[in-house]
Symmetry: C4
Subunit: 256 residues, 4 copies
């Protein structure tokens, strides 16, 4: 595998005017928690899996003795309201780590979405402030002034977040814009040092308003804990194996 691969699974779908909603791992796991919760509550349908040579070269052992590759997944939700946009969700274990890799993976995601005639992308994430936040604000940054105007009514603060958006949450919008799409990043204020279910709740409420879909938030906190446990286990194992690697640079280490 030399390039990122998106593999269709399940049945073929023909989304109407789809929007892409992205929640990949990032600061405070905010985007991932929020979007995964919505996927589950809406019982969205799995339609594709994304594998990449730019993801870490490891497979995950599952409880029942099987293993699987690291991946991102696309889900499809058919909007029951006539004329309204269907939704494509993108969630996953991991993002690529280097610039070149992020550009390659995001390019493939955009190819996939463009084939569906998608025009609009929402990415979710955390905005790290390095301190505890009582009631998290939700910031936004968009690809056009028109979208800023449109979204300012949804409880999103524009022009208040500083600096840059690192990773797919920003790059998908920037690259998408170059290819004629519009996009919005929805960021919840968060400490940054831990998994933040409360912040995920805040951005999820805003997302609900943006896409016009209500979701029950009852199970969000529980799911956040599961996610945290999964990610922590992964990290701990990765750390342990790394430590056991000994001399990673020698290329001849027998402890890998």
């Amino acid at each position: 595998m030399k390039e990122t691969l998106i593999k269709n699974v399940g049945k073929n779908v023909k989304p109407r005017k789809p929007v892409l909603v992205v929640g990949l791992p990032g600061i405070g796991l905010v985007g991932k928690l929020a979007v995964e919760h919505m996927v589950k509550e809406l019982k969205a349908e799995r339609i594709a899996e994304l594998y990449s040579p730019h993801f870490p070269h490891q497979v995950i052992m599952r409880k029942k003795g099987t293993l699987r590759m690291l991946r991102n997944r696309f889900y499809y939700w058919k909007n029951p309201k006539k004329g309204e946009s269907d939704i494509i969700f993108l969630v996953g274990d991991v993002q690529a780590l280097t610039s070149e890799a992020q550009h390659e993976v995001c390019g493939k995601i955009l190819d996939y979405f463009i084939k569906m005639r998608g025009k609009r992308i929402y990415t979710l994430g955390g905005y790290g402030v390095g301190k505890m936040v009582e009631s998290p604000k939700v910031f936004g940054s968009a690809t056009s002034k028109e979208l800023v105007r449109e979204m300012s009514k949804k409880g999103i603060l524009f022009g208040k977040a500083n600096g840059s958006i690192i990773g797919a949450a920003g790059l998908l919008l920037g690259l998408g814009h170059l290819r004629g799409m519009e996009g919005l990043c929805i960021m919840g204020e968060t400490h940054g040092g831990y998994v933040d279910a409360k912040c995920a709740q805040s951005v999820l409420k805003v997302l609900s308003s943006v896409v016009g879909i209500k979701v029950d938030l009852a199970k969000l906190e529980q799911r956040a804990k599961e996610s945290e446990r999964f990610m922590k286990k992964m990290e701990k194992e990765a750390g342990k194996q790394k430590e056991l690697q000994g001399m990673p640079e020698s290329g001849l280490s027998y402890i890998r």
Copy 2:
């Protein structure tokens, strides 16, 4: 050489229903020791060599004054039992170090095995626990529930190992599965900080049962010591030369 190269050596072979058994350097050298021992005991025949631009850019000086590149090697063992699977073994000095490189090398290995109409892969390795182990358990992780069921009878513990499998032992199975193959990783519990011949013995017994071949274990410990000596020498030299490199980042260091 811009891509990994697999070069046939020796005579052409036509394996019947081959399984691939992989023992590359990794935690405690467990997989490498076990598979190399089986290759020697079975007097398996060398059929191909693998060279890669992703392996370290160094050549090994041998005792008699000759040098050779770092490589992996394929061996072929013809199963004398009628109707049973022949075995292709893969062993070697080294694994690739980055994700992209691992994906490229594993892809070439799978191409090679698929050309032989191979369908099943066994990879062997160590499962580092960071402490001494009296009698090493043997864990397994497989690409399907059916294989888990089949292999549970062979003394392999499923669902007991946590986290992820890093490197070719995992990635060959994950990528192979994407291409229609089934696979099993057999991991022996080991400290992780040293070469573990006893653990190699444990996984070798399990492998024997899995492939239905008995091998004499008498020489395993001696071979483990040779392997350890070889790897240590390599590492020591690599370390020494690295140290002498001085400023590796300047690109103008005259100590390389």
Copy 3:
């Protein structure tokens, strides 16, 4: 996006005997400040934008709530003097970080300039001396002895700067020379540890003399402060987000 992309914006232009003047971020921001100032004073016209997978994978949030990708920009200035060279300016947020990336980006810039039948390149930058400089000298280094001779009359000191020129300011000239162009790097003596508007003024005066265009320097210092503020904010944010990333190497960090 797998390769650097140069996208035309605005109207098509047909520069006469164009020279390329390059001011990308570098030591003391000297080149960037000087060239951006000239672009603004001359009201040069934006003609193209450069995006690269080798630039950091982040987008910049602007004050009004919109976002944009990191980029370089080309500007065009039509020389009102008959028979004189038009000027193409190149300025931007960032340079590529690795050798391979710099070669790719510089190659694309040269392709673009060669299509315009460009023959001569001036790059501007700082020459770090690690101490405060009262009245900064301006050093030069050129691709041919003829150019050294020609430029020695312009107040540029040749043969006084030592060592090497790192980044696009040097590589564009070296690669351009291989493709038949001539070039000159104009470097102002600067501390190196801070943004140096005074040094930018010195190199700008020399550039004015070299291209035969006078520019008002009144607003340079104020613009330098804005540039410094922008770059500092970017860095601070990048640093903060980096810090929040936690374990960047695990590939499974949930803090990205």
Copy 4:
């Protein structure tokens, strides 16, 4: 420039049965000093220059105010003895730094040499021992037993050096052997922490014997000093500029 480029300069040559003699920067600068000395003493003719995107992205400022790219160079020496081998020399500023880059550059060098119907390669280098050496031994490692036998008569010790040969001195031989060439690495025992002209003298004597050409050693020490000065200046500058770079990882550092 996406690939390493070898550019012919000077007149076309048709070497007879050429051998390639390689002295690139490495431990103690031994190989570079020895081969550059021979090139100068023999007044070998420059025939080609090698540029690579894998070399550091910097240009060198020369004393007279001109600049040049980092490069390697090929020289040709016509053997006056009838029927004897002509020699192609390869010397240069720098080697590539990563495995993939070394494989690409060495591949291009071999392509170039194969076009000349070259069959044999000698590489020269230092063998670092980490301590002062009174009278440096000269070790060898070759691609075949036949060559070991042939060269044992020339005062080269085989089977005495341990470990691996890092960089082009080893890789050119390994990759060359895969493509049907034979090769020998001649290594002089050296401390490793400084430029070692005495060691260069020892390997040069051996090389003289190997290729059957006498060279005057009088100027070697003086040239070694010049080389050392050049490399040190480069390194110092590179270090200084690096230091001034500030935050090299942020990608937005304005101090480059």
